[in-house]
C-alpha cells in the first residue's frame, strides 16, 4: 500500500528569505548581483541585472497593479476558526497566531476594489507569507465574496494567486473551497464578466486546480512555479530527474496552459488593455 502513497505538494518555505528589509543591500539569488533595496522597490522587486522576480507581499502587489489612491479593502474581519481542532506538532490555533504576528495580516488573502488605468476591478490577492498562502474556509469565502461583489457591481475579477494549495488544517472544508470558488466563477461566466487569473510564484495544489486555472485569460508571472503536484512528489513518483524548467511559467505557456507569460513590469498595462477590449463600453 505504501509504495504509491500520495504526498500532496509541500508548502514551500514561508521563511521571508525573499522579503527584503528596508534600506539595505540585497543579493539577487539568481545572478548574485548586489542591489540597493530602494532601487529594487522602484523596479517592482525585479532584479535590475537579470530580471529575477522577487516575491511580493499582497500590499506590494496591489500597489503594483492598482492606480494610486483607488484601493478600498473589502471583506476584512473574516477570521479563521479551528473547526477540526487540528493539532500536529503545533496546534492550528497557534500556527494562525504565529502567522498573524509575523505578517500583521488577518488571513492569507486580501480583497478589495480598485482601478486599473481607470477601469474598476474587484480583486483578490494572496499573501504567501501567511501559512504559505494556503486556502482554508476564509480564503475560499473571501474569493467567493469578491466574485459575488463583482457580479453585483458588474465588475471584472482579478485574482492574484500565490499559494501552496489547500490548507490541511481545515481538512475537507479546505477541499470544498475549490468547489465553492469554481461554482462562483460559473456564475461570473454566465454573466459574461471577465476574469483574469494571474499566477505568481508559486501557484500549486488546490489553488491551481480551481480558480487559478479558470481565467478567461490565464497569465503566469515570469519564472513562477505553477502546477498541481509539487516537483518533489512527482520526482518521487516517477523516480527520475525532472526536465529543466519543469512547471515554470514558460513550461506552462509551451504546453498551452496559460495565455501569456509576462514580466511584472508589463502586467498592469497588459491586463488593463485586455479588460478594455473584453468589456463593452458604457
Amino acid at each position: 500500500m505504501s509504495w504509491f502513497k500520495r504526498i500532496a505538494p509541500k508548502l514551500l518555505s514561508t521563511e521571508p528569505k525573499k522579503n527584503i528589509p528596508a534600506g539595505i543591500w540585497i543579493k539577487c539569488p539568481e545572478c548574485g548581483e548586489t542591489l540597493y533595496s530602494k532601487d529594487l522597490d522602484k523596479n517592482l522587486k525585479v532584479c535590475l541585472n537579470c530580471s529575477y522576480h522577487f516575491r511580493l507581499t499582497a500590499e506590494e502587489r496591489i500597489a503594483s497593479l492598482v492606480d494610486d489612491g483607488t484601493w478600498t479593502e473589502l471583506f476584512s474581519g473574516i477570521l479563521p476558526k479551528d473547526p477540526l481542532q487540528f493539532t500536529d506538532s503545533k496546534k492550528y490555533k497557534d500556527r494562525l497566531k504565529a502567522a498573524t504576528t509575523k505578517t500583521k495580516l488577518e488571513e492569507a488573502i486580501t480583497c478589495g476594489e480598485g482601478r486599473m488605468m481607470g477601469q474598476r476591478v474587484a480583486m483578490s490577492v494572496f499573501n504567501f507569507r501567511f501559512m504559505g498562502g494556503s486556502m482554508g474556509s476564509v480564503v475560499g469565502e473571501k474569493i467567493t465574496r469578491t466574485i459575488e461583489y463583482a457580479l453585483a457591481e458588474k465588475l471584472p475579477v482579478i485574482i492574484v494567486s500565490s499559494s501552496g494549495g489547500a490548507r490541511m488544517q481545515e481538512g475537507a472544508l479546505s477541499l470544498m473551497q475549490m468547489a465553492k470558488t469554481s461554482a462562483a466563477l460559473y456564475q461570473l461566466a454566465q454573466a459574461k464578466l471577465p476574469y483574469v487569473s494571474l499566477m505568481t510564484d508559486p501557484t500549486t495544489g488546490g489553488v491551481s486546480a480551481s480558480f487559478a486555472m479558470l481565467g478567461d485569460i490565464n497569465i503566469a508571472e515570469k519564472g513562477a512555479l505553477i502546477g498541481f503536484a509539487g516537483p518533489r512528489v512527482i520526482q518521487q513518483t516517477i523516480g527520475q530527474q525532472l526536465p529543466a524548467g519543469f512547471q515554470r511559467a514558460e513550461f506552462l505557456l509551451e504546453h498551452g496552459a496559460v495565455d501569456l507569460v509576462l514580466d511584472r513590469r508589463e502586467l498592469k498595462g497588459q491586463i488593463a488593455n485586455l479588460l478594455g477590449i473584453m468589456l463593452p463600453r458604457g
Binding site: 505504501s2 504509491f4 502513497k5 500520495r6 504526498i7 500532496a8 473574516i78 477570521l79 476558526k81 473547526p83 487540528f86 500536529d88 506538532s89 482554508g136 474556509s137 476564509v138 475560499g140 469565502e141 467567493t144 489547500a166 490548507r167 490541511m168 481538512g171 475537507a172 472544508l173 479546505s174 477541499l175 470544498m176 473551497q177 475549490m178 468547489a179 465553492k180 469554481s182 461554482a183 462562483a184 460559473y186 456564475q187 454566465q190 495544489g205 488546490g206 491551481s208 486546480a209 480551481s210 480558480f211 487559478a212 486555472m213 479558470l214 505553477i226 502546477g227 498541481f228 503536484a229 509539487g230 512528489v233 512527482i234 513518483t237 516517477i238 519543469f246 512547471q247 504546453h255 496552459a257
Partner: protein, 318 residues
Amino acid sequence: MYVLELEKPVAALRSKIEELRALMDAGNLESGSEIAKLEAKAKQLEEEIFKNLDNWDKTQLARHPFRPCTLDFVQHCTKDFQELHGDRHFRDDPSIVGGFCRIDGTRFMLIGHQRGRTTTENVHRNFGMPHPEGYRKALRLMKLAEKFGVPILTLIDTKGAYPGLGAEERGQSEAIAVNLREMAGLTVPVICVVIGEGGSGGALALGVGNRVLMLEHSIYSVISPEGCASILFGDSSRAQEAARSLKYVAKDLLKLKVIDGFVPEPVGGAHAKPEEALDSLKKAVLKHLGQLEKLSAEQLIQGRYEKFRQMGVFAESV
C-alpha cells in the same frame, strides 16, 4: 486471504470454528454446541469492533482491495450498461469509467473511479489515479447526459490525481478546475457517492453534486494521512495521528456539512458483504433521485450552488 489488523480477532475465532466443523464432519466431535457458542461469540465480537472503529480502521476498510468498486456496482445494480470511452482529445483513461445504464428501470449516466484488484489490473487502471484525460472524459459524459436529460451518478474511489510528468504537461490542474466549474452548471440531477477513498482534487473532480453521500466506512480528505504526516510531522509513518486530526470519516463530515448523508454498511464492512452494501447504496441513490427529479433545471443549479456556497467555517466580526 486479505485480513486487516482489526479483523484478526474475529478471523481467529472463525478459523477455530472451521476446525471444529472439520472435526465434526469427520465424526470426531459429538456436539455442535461449542461451535454455536463460538459463532455467537464471533458475531458479538465483530459487532463490538465495528461499533468502535477509529479513523485509521476506517482508512484500512476504505482501501480494502475487495471493497466494492465502480464496476461491481455496474454489475450488481445496473442493467444495459454501455461503457463509453475517451476524452476525444488524447486517450481513454481506464482509471475512470463511465457510460449509460439503467438502475431499476431509471436511466443514468454512471461515472466512477476504477482501481484494480490484481497487480495487472492496477497497472492497467493506474491504481485508480486519473490523468487529465480521465476528468475530461468524465465531463464529456456529464455533458452528454445533460443533453439528453439523464441524471448523473458518480462513484468516487481514488487516492487522488496522479502526480506524474504527463499529467502536469497535459494540464491536470485545469482539467480538475474545469470539472468543478462545469459541474456547478449541470441542468440534470447529480448524485455523488464516495464509495472508498476520496482523495483530494482527483476525488472532488467528480464530486460537485446536488447530493454528496458516502458509504459509511469511506474517507474523504484534502490529503492522504501519509501525505499529511509527511508534511506536518516530517514522517509519513505517523499517518495514524494524521488520520485522527484530519477528521475525514463520514460522521465528522456530516457534522461539518461537507456531505448530505451516509449509507450504512453491513457489520464486517462492505467487502465482507458486498451485495448487501451495494443494495443499500442503490436504494439511497434512488431515494435521492426521487427528491431531485421534482426540481427544475434552475432549482438544481441554484440548489447545488447554495449547498457548496455555505461550506466553510469562519468567524466574522461585524
